[in-house]
Symmetry: C2
Subunit: 137 residues, 2 copies
């Protein structure tokens, strides 16, 4: 895959987030995806990611990944992004400055690592009284 095609795949993935379309989000992922919000433990596998995202999609009113920069590696197997993620809850807006890397194979996302300041997110989450963790089973 060329760098530009890989970038388009990631832009389409972000568009699925903007629609809060969980099926489309998960369909872009390899079954064995490693989704890692450092320094939390990684979420392993597409179905675990779906379970992780259900409460987020349910509890938000709007989601926007404002893409400040996107660049695909020369080999087309990695796409790096700088974003401002904006999650709107009934109680307010959570803005997360973040960089993320997407690893691709056969047109699917095999790994997604997110780098952000965890304490800042935790403070905002507490202030809004929301949860970013999966609902208890």
């Amino acid at each position: 895959m060329q760098a530009r095609a890989a970038e388009t795949l990631v832009r389409d993935f972000c568009a699925a987030w903007h629609r809060r379309d969980l099926d489309a989000i998960v369909a872009a992922m390899d079954v064995d995806i490693v989704y890692w919000n450092l320094p939390a433990p990684p979420v392993l596998g597409r179905e675990a990611v779906r379970a992780f995202l259900v409460p987020l999609i349910r509890d938000t009113i709007a989601i926007e990944f404002e893409l400040h920069a996107v660049a695909g590696s020369e080999a087309g197997d990695k796409v790096l992004t700088e974003r401002l993620d904006r999650l709107t809850f009934p109680s307010g807006v959570l803005e997360i400055p973040v960089m993320g890397i997407f690893e691709l194979r056969h047109g699917l996302i095999t790994a997604w690592r997110e780098y952000a300041d965890f304490a800042s997110i935790g403070e905002a989450v507490a202030r809004l009284g929301v949860s970013l963790s999966p609902a208890p089973a």
Copy 2:
């Protein structure tokens, strides 16, 4: 500047870090660089960055930016990286998983933003008994 040339500029910048060559590090920066370790306040201007980096260069034995991914934007004005930064002090090694973005103009770095988990860095810094802040004037 093409994406690949921009990537080479950033690789050369990392090489200057590996030599702990403060003059070469600073020479790669625009005089008005904005160097921002989120969520700390940005360091504004090349001379302020030099003052910020003096104690780091002085107190480390070795510095390595292990580049896991590098990608230049199509326009060649931005380079995004995923790295494991390894700072070796006499008291031990500080490893920082980080993504960083470099904005370039006329072959110089005009902005450098780093995304990492601040609390993790703070804990490691405390454990090693080192400082990452500028020495008091």
